[in-house]
Symmetry: C2
Subunit: 385 residues, 2 copies
């Protein structure tokens, strides 16, 4: 039987690769619905090629244009459109929502899918960073699976699948070190946008590339791991691994480590999640083990990457502090990408936002959106001159 796919964020890097896999496996998958945001031309191409039942667009203008061109395709738009898409065809439960959105906007549709007990393939880290506690609450009410397609967490899933959690000593997430791994703190003061977007090992979306350079991305991934694998943050660690071949490791109580190795290619974790529990013979370039002659690991320098500490701190404080962490980071990265602030101002903005927030425990979705808006608008007022 074909698996129906509801894809959020089809025009981004993960979305594109998900479409590659769907396209190559027409007997296995069927794209029922997708969302796109800025790239309208690409949205038209995808709609033409896949003929979905529903498309979610950015705003009313795109919606109207789209309806004119594709009168037979159901169209929706805006934040509400993403929710409609995520829970479209309520009865279709052997389907997957692939959430490849960027930023906190991914949270609400995840919750919508959970409430109709639809399984979710999650690339959107912010869903868990900001709303991990909400998802935990829903676990008691609904039956659903949350499968990670982030490469590190997908690797952990492969390593931990069917293993006894009590045997785990530590989860280890590897980090390439990002664009500025060879620079010292002094040198970081003068880096520009082009430098920041030049990731040493691969190309991906702009936001996550900057998050990699600040190491906030690993901070998010540590939080994500805590929620996904229900594990204490003291048991999650990250190490620098420049070669990006080992994606994660699990240290067990007895001194054994299990590691996941592959080419850094997102087709692999996406395929693993889509085909699970099978492993489909993908056509990604495979590593030749005997070509590996200097796999190396080194300690993470927490002084050099304060964002990593901020993420861990926000998780430990908990509640709405995680919303502030994410909101301040989203807006700061956006300001940097728009040339409004220097690279090192990103971390300063986040630090200030965390310091000036008074935590609320277990914030509701509404409170999360309020805090998110407040934090973002405060920062924007100050810096977006």
């Amino acid at each position: 039987m074909k698996k129906n796919i509801y894809l959020l964020g089809a025009t981004g890097s993960i979305g594109q690769q998900t479409l590659d896999i769907i396209k190559k496996n027409p007997n296995k998958f069927n794209l029922v619905a997708f969302s796109g945001y800025n790239n309208y031309t690409r949205i038209i191409e995808i709609a033409t090629q896949f003929k979905p039942e529903m498309v979610a667009l950015k705003d009313k203008t795109d919606y109207s244009n789209f309806k004119q061109r594709f009168p037979d395709i159901k169209a929706v738009y805006g934040r509400e459109g993403l929710n409609k898409l995520a829970s479209y065809n309520k009865e279709d439960k052997s389907a997957y929502l692939v959430n490849a959105l960027v930023g906190m906007v991914g949270l609400d549709p995840t919750l919508s899918a959970i409430k109709i007990e639809r399984d979710i393939l999650l690339a959107n880290k912010e869903t868990l960073v900001v709303g991990g506690h909400l998802i935990n609450d829903l676990k008691k009410l609904y039956k659903f699976n949350l499968y990670p397609i982030d490469s590190e967490h997908n690797a952990l899933w492969q390593l931990l699948d069917k293993k006894d959690k009590n045997t785990i000593k530590r989860l280890i997430i590897t980090a390439s070190g990002g664009a500025f791994r060879e620079l010292n703190r002094k040198e970081l003061e003068t880096v520009n946008i082009e430098d920041a977007l030049d990731h040493p090992n691969w190309s991906m979306g702009k936001k996550i590339t900057i998050d990699s350079a600040t190491m906030m991305n690993k901070g998010f991934e540590i939080i994500e791991a805590c929620y996904l694998f229900d594990i204490d943050i003291e048991k999650v660690d990250t190490v620098i691994h420049k070669e990006s071949i080992v994606h994660s490791m699990v240290e067990f109580n007895d001194g054994s480590y299990l590691a996941h190795l592959s080419k850094p290619d997102m087709h692999l974790p996406i395929s693993y999640a889509l085909f699970y529990p099978e492993r489909f013979c993908t056509d990604i370039k495979k590593i030749e083990i005997t070509d590996l002659n200097s796999l190396s690991f080194s300690k993470m320098d927490y002084q050099r990457y304060p964002c990593l500490n901020y993420a861990i701190e926000a998780f430990k404080v908990g509640g709405s502090m995680r919303t502030v962490l994410n909101a301040a980071n989203e807006i700061a990265v956006s300001l940097f990408l728009n040339g409004k602030i220097q690279f090192l101002e990103i971390e300063k903005i986040i630090r200030t936002a965390l310091d000036s927030h008074k935590k609320i425990d277990n914030p509701s979705l509404e409170q999360i959106y309020e805090i998110d808006n407040l934090v973002k608008s405060n920062i924007e007022k100050k810096y977006n001159r």
Copy 2:
């Protein structure tokens, strides 16, 4: 409840380490019986310390001496003694036979334990090399588990446990390269016993150290993997990995590799098997991931190590050819250790033995012993001058 342990080969390297673990975990394990061979002093020590119910000795002389000293301990001796020990206390089924014997002598007691449905922790490679087909036959008649404590196969077990076999592309066993890994074929002509026993990464029994230098050990391990994991020999590979940190890897159909890493310390695989499905917090030295800065892998040079090819060839031809392989190897290694032949004569002796044998399909245990004796005595006649 305590697990009862029946230990074959208590005075060897694996046996000693098994005793370490039993001694440190008196609430978990109880040594019911053990065998020893040449080291009578050590046998006395173990019997004094562990107060077992039964001890298996080398011969009638040792037996008589032992009975005089320990009239309350049941004593047996010789090959028949090993069988009695392996199947002693037939009703004690939640027990383990730990088979840490060296050489083909380990096969018969393994079969005896299987016939009383006792689970086996297997370090004795020759059991599977020579008698893998017999064990396969018994699988249809008896219920038992065969858990590997060879480090490479134990690592594969950890990696494959509860995974779907259909997803496997290849099992990869790592090889340190042995004592002579830096020498070329010409230089191998003049190596002596002391050089051969100087393993670069660890110390173990003499026979297996020589098997490592000739790479016959990896040949045996490939055969072992085929039987243990019911996998085609074309899907088992070996690579040189000088650091001996990665013990095995599994390549899956989708391009993912899972690897097992740890300090090379046999306490770990023995503990894993003894405590399975738990992982006990052992006190072995653990690797610090961030100290690993040049893990390397390189292709196995099959030209340089003909014994590896002979093993693969013997497995493919099958039947009694595996008995000849092992018998010729056992006697040739023994002749080398006794200074009767040069290092490179080991492989020549094995080649000649394989070439002059006419294969019997599915040899019985009796036929295996006959062939073993014949091959060994022919070689001994020629070389033991």
